[in-house]
Symmetry: D2
Subunit: 288 residues, 4 copies
């Protein structure tokens, strides 16, 4: 029977999965991506378009997020789309564009992998492999990614409990990959004024229960451009180790998620605000 007086006094659970639990590495995990340290005092910003659409779109967007202060470029070459008739991504051609954008800007690259058969290929091009929300419990993919040589950005399932999320990360660690970054990206609730409900409570809960770095994706989490900067500030205040954000050089022409993508100038202005909040909580934003 539920009582009014909640009895939870601590979040430390002795049965949290053994490799990811906080006590397994009390000092915290730092994931090093080409010298960018994720999980330390510095906050790392990852930004870019939802999908890689063209050489121009990617390069222009990459330059602008680099100028604004991002350290890592995001962009999907393989896209999970609700409808089979939506743009499915450029595939290997998209990965090659990401590689060229990296060479031009100096940004590292994070890109999604959806299929066990793609892991090797994506790992050749990307610096971080992203496993998306819909694949958080794709166990064969987790096992394959657990054997990969690149760090993994594992997004929380939109309907996954924290317990399930930690277990999904445990799949990666128990298969050998200790370079794992978590990312809250919104959960599904009854509320429909936002696309998802970005669950910032997950940040301190995860920080208490696991040693892995925790990022937030306010773009998918809200689905609404005018909320992204505000929720990004709140994420940093709540202790996030970094942010993953969608920026597009021409959002109104985006093939995917245009309405939640920031304009480059918005991104730049937001970054100035983020730096102030970071300082207020004793941190700084990583500068390339």
């Amino acid at each position: 029977m539920e009582t009014d007086s909640c009895s939870i006094e601590t979040l430390i659970k002795t049965d949290d999965p053994e490799l990811v639990r906080r006590s397994a590495r009390p000092e915290g995990t730092i994931v090093d991506v080409n010298g960018i340290r994720i999980g330390g005092k510095e906050i790392v910003i990852m930004a870019g378009p939802c999908a890689v659409e063209s050489e121009e779109q990617l390069t222009e967007t990459a330059k602008s997020v680099r100028a604004g202060g991002a350290s890592i470029l995001r962009g999907g070459a393989f896209k999970p789309r609700t409808s089979p008739y939506s743009f499915q991504g450029l595939g290997k051609e998209g990965l090659e564009m990401l590689e060229r954008a990296r060479n031009v800007t100096g940004l590292s690259v994070v890109s999604e992998v959806m299929d066990t058969r793609q892991v090797e290929t994506v790992a050749r091009y990307a610096d971080i492999l992203q496993i998306g929300s819909r694949n958080m419990q794709n166990f064969p993919l987790l096992k394959e990614a657990g054997r990969a040589s690149k760090p993994i950005l594992l997004k929380r399932g939109m309907m996954a409990t924290i317990d399930e999320y930690l277990n999904a990360a445990e799949y990666l660690l128990s298969h050998g990959n200790t370079q794992v970054i978590l990312c809250e990206r919104g959960i599904r609730t009854f509320e429909s004024s936002t696309r998802y409900t970005l669950d910032l409570n997950a940040i301190p809960v995860l920080k208490q229960r696991t040693h892995l770095p925790v990022l937030v994706d306010p773009s998918h989490g809200t689905g609404i451009r005018s909320l992204v900067a505000t929720m990004a500030k709140a994420s940093i205040a709540a202790g996030a180790d970094g942010l993953l954000m969608e920026v597009h050089y021409k959002p109104e022409e985006a093939l995917c998620d245009g309405s939640q993508s920031l304009y480059p100038e918005e991104f730049g202005m937001m970054m100035e605000d983020l730096r102030k909040v970071a300082v207020a909580v004793g941190r700084t934003i990583h500068v390339l």
Copy 2:
């Protein structure tokens, strides 16, 4: 059919209720409580015990939150409890204790009203009438409170959409009471690692759609003491106009919500952190 690319570009709805909608008062409503201006540049802190339990408990707690920097004392004399066998509050005796605590500390007082027949009585003692989450759609109570002479703190229903919440506030305004403060306090979702899911997205959504001040209650929203300070910081970064928090001079002896109540010293330390975040977003904490 849902599409991957969300089409919400603006939150302004032309059919939001006419009195609460942002365009009805673009400059924003400021609720004045004994000179404390809620909804302006200053952030207002309300703190105190869940329930009024005794003269000593209330006075000691009130003094400590005053010392820590709160401007308004919270404390329930009439308590909504899941079980009929739980402590139901001290009733009128509790209101009298609140009055004495106000006299001693100079803090203004917010206290809950649950019944249409209590509105007049509570309004004689409290400076702000609180309508709790479970009564957000208690329409007779909203009508009665709409005719009261005191400001109303209307908490969001744990199951209420933003649309329903704005309509509940509209009941108050359309019955004559324009001194209304909103308060996000956590919604019910599938996630059980926190007592509720504190929905910070609601802050910018509400600020865009209505002119009313928006507070956050991170104590009920999380139900876990060790998360309160972090979520309080995030709330301020997200634009909250104030916070409502539970503090108890001896949480382990509390008759209600002890595990989410801060110790007085925790409250004081948190306040220092909150001041820094407030400055980072261009605001300050109100000082009595």
Copy 3:
């Protein structure tokens, strides 16, 4: 930590509230309304309009549901409406219309009470007092209804757990009223293809945990006329002791919930199907 293998083997909880728990009356409670026994082998049908709108509307609808096989007439005189500008019900005039409809048709009457100050009045006119979903945790109302001389139909809150629901019923029993009928009416979930998600699992769960009769309201539960008859059949197969349904003589002119109200002829056809399902599970539909 959640495990894949769910360990719930029984639903009997030793800490269920003491008066409502199954073991307090293993043979089950039968609520007698003018000789109609709710909670026994016979299934009881309650039907009528969402709101009492006019003498003609009520009488015509009452006659048709009586002809179709209903035993009890539903109809709201006091209406909880999301917006203050929606039709709020005819109040006492509506109660008088209900009394006349009862005299004309021989149907007993169930009608909603929303305010502690209305309990006595509604109890003079109605045979069963309904407490609606939004008031399931309106504790002063529960206490007042617990002292009333008429049976109570307590609807499940749209966001209430079974634990909370049983505790709300305990308020009624512990204040003296043992004539309590429960009613599942849909819960709030992420799914938006129906207005709410009618939770039929609640029927066997409640039947195992409490001795009180359990009804289902498929009209509010789905919000869609074309689903009502199907979900009514499923409710009976799942063990419901009765149904509460909206029927309107002219749904397209209804002031409230028209799109979920059945046409009288649909109601009659559905009743024939319900009789067959009732027999298949060893029960019959009560005939006046």
Copy 4:
């Protein structure tokens, strides 16, 4: 703005995916599995253990469900498990046991496929390929299964809207596989008295919007043995074309989902009840 009076009058959406929408095949799809017609007047029962554990366990359970009236044997050789340390299934050895159980009993076989690389193998052994709840939006797997030569049982994601579910099925049809069976298996909600909330509303909603057959899995949907038979009856009353259920010859020794698995004798008794409800709604249970 949400209004009290819900305006949904029909569920037919002109933008439902073109191949799965009801109007694409108004007479309904019948999936033929070795002469067993799924989606017609007859209701088809699939039963067996959660996971294939041993020759004895599978054969004994298969014989008992055949004796009880099932037509198709379920059993997982590849198991999606929350924890990497839980039993992960016997793999190909399990598929061979399923083949021998089919030869012994005459039952057809449904078994889960989790990885694009397993599709061909599982398709050699199983008569129906199951895609589980966690893989409903595993788009590479859907594409591969869309090219397979065997019918697909696509379970609804525990967090998937009906819109998303129909789009997932559209992936299968648009890649060439028209032999698709849907299966409601419970969604995730705030209610924790059942493992999931089995959403029976989905049955009539899906039957109106698509021509594909619709099954229900009351074992996973509730997670509690004592609820399965009741919810199975309700599913048939709600229009399900079949049921998928867990039966184990020794549930207390099961490596997976023991607490929701029926004992063989319970299964047999339930089948007698199901036959009565089927007749009441104008259908019969398929007999091998």
